[in-house]
Symmetry: C2
Subunit: 221 residues, 2 copies
């Protein structure tokens, strides 16, 4: 069971040093809790970390499943306009969960955090992509369009590009100091699915925005 004081005790420490340099004693002191409280709830610091990550993963999975429900009404081979429109609803709960866990996941995704959390998140998004792909694109069916470059790309690279891009956007949002709204985030997720990176360059207004010569903070972390 998650004890909020102990959880925050660990998270505060992770702002300063990596998990490997943190002892159970540190966590108990930082949480101002007793040894008994710690050991009643957790076997060790790794057990505590897994409980925190487990809660994020479970809520994320449920949100993705909930959001999937709005993908039952659409045309047979939705075009980019329709995908863009569907995107608004089909990530609503998911983005909300990311917002709820923003502070926690920001710490866990930092260099002091857990390198495996991102892998766990990618595993979920991968599985969700398969579910949605079947609903939206009838994977294994033939699409009527003809293509300029007919040579296909390997399925595993497609997944990497599709789910990797959406995951990157959310992780970037979680890490950013300059937080945009969840609805703006969902809109960007819509663009990223339906526009190529080159098209996105042409959509971007470089004049009115922050100096692109300055990397955003998380590249320096």
């Amino acid at each position: 069971m998650l004890d909020i004081r102990i959880q925050n005790g660990l998270l505060e420490l992770l702002k300063q040093k990596p998990l490997n340099d943190i002892t159970t004693k540190d966590i108990i002191e930082s949480a101002e809790a007793s040894r008994k409280t710690f050991y009643t709830n957790y076997k060790d610091k790794r057990d505590l970390l897994m409980e925190i990550e487990g809660a994020i993963i479970t809520d994320l999975q449920e949100a993705l499943k909930e959001d999937r429900k709005c993908l039952t009404q659409h045309s047979s081979f939705p075009d980019k306009e329709e995908i863009f429109r569907l995107s608004q609803g089909s990530f609503a709960h998911t983005v909300q969960v990311c917002s709820d866990y923003r502070e926690v996941s920001r710490i866990l995704l930092s260099p002091n955090g857990d390198i495996n959390l991102l892998t766990r998140i990618k595993r979920i998004t991968y599985s969700e992509f398969m579910h949605r792909g079947k609903l939206l694109f009838y994977f294994n069916s033939q699409h009527p369009s003809t293509n300029v470059h007919p040579s296909p790309i390997p399925v595993d690279y497609l997944f990497e590009i599709y789910t990797g891009t959406l995951t990157n956007i959310i992780v970037h949002w979680v890490r950013s100091d300059n937080r945009i709204s969840t609805s703006a985030l969902r809109e960007i997720m819509g663009y990223a699915q339906t526009h190529s990176p080159v098209e996105l360059i042409y959509l971007t207004n470089f004049d009115e925005q922050a100096d692109p010569n300055q990397p955003s903070h998380h590249f320096n972390s």
Copy 2:
């Protein structure tokens, strides 16, 4: 200076356990080298790791800079066909460096490896993106095309999507057991820049390829 025996000694150990669980003594034993050889070249294990990563980073930076040279001859506002074509040359050395360092970076990018290496790689690609963006798209200039969705996306999200996608593809390639050729890799990098993820789905032939229900190995690592 990089001592190849000692470097390989560390890399062999990282296949089995994380850096934090590895001692200098372990490395010396694994390398079948003397303490003297180790301490003549390195201060400690972290110093050794930084030397290995430093070599990768330097070579990657030089390759990107070399590849940038082929971006001087092109039209004012290159369309996707041209970007696709340019992609073949403009990542040639870069992809070769990734190929040369494939085994090493595969270990360093694994869960036992260094969470910061990916951040360092992203920092380089970010800076390269700025250079190339100025050559190719005249950042801060106006493009003549009109857009269906005129609302711009923030510059930092654009960078995340553009360089993040290319980095993901290369990292996926490095981690894959099923290795495709470097020219096939460059072609995928071309597609990923010039086609939206939704378009890529329609380009992919799901029938002729491996079962997409099976996640590729690195999700299970």
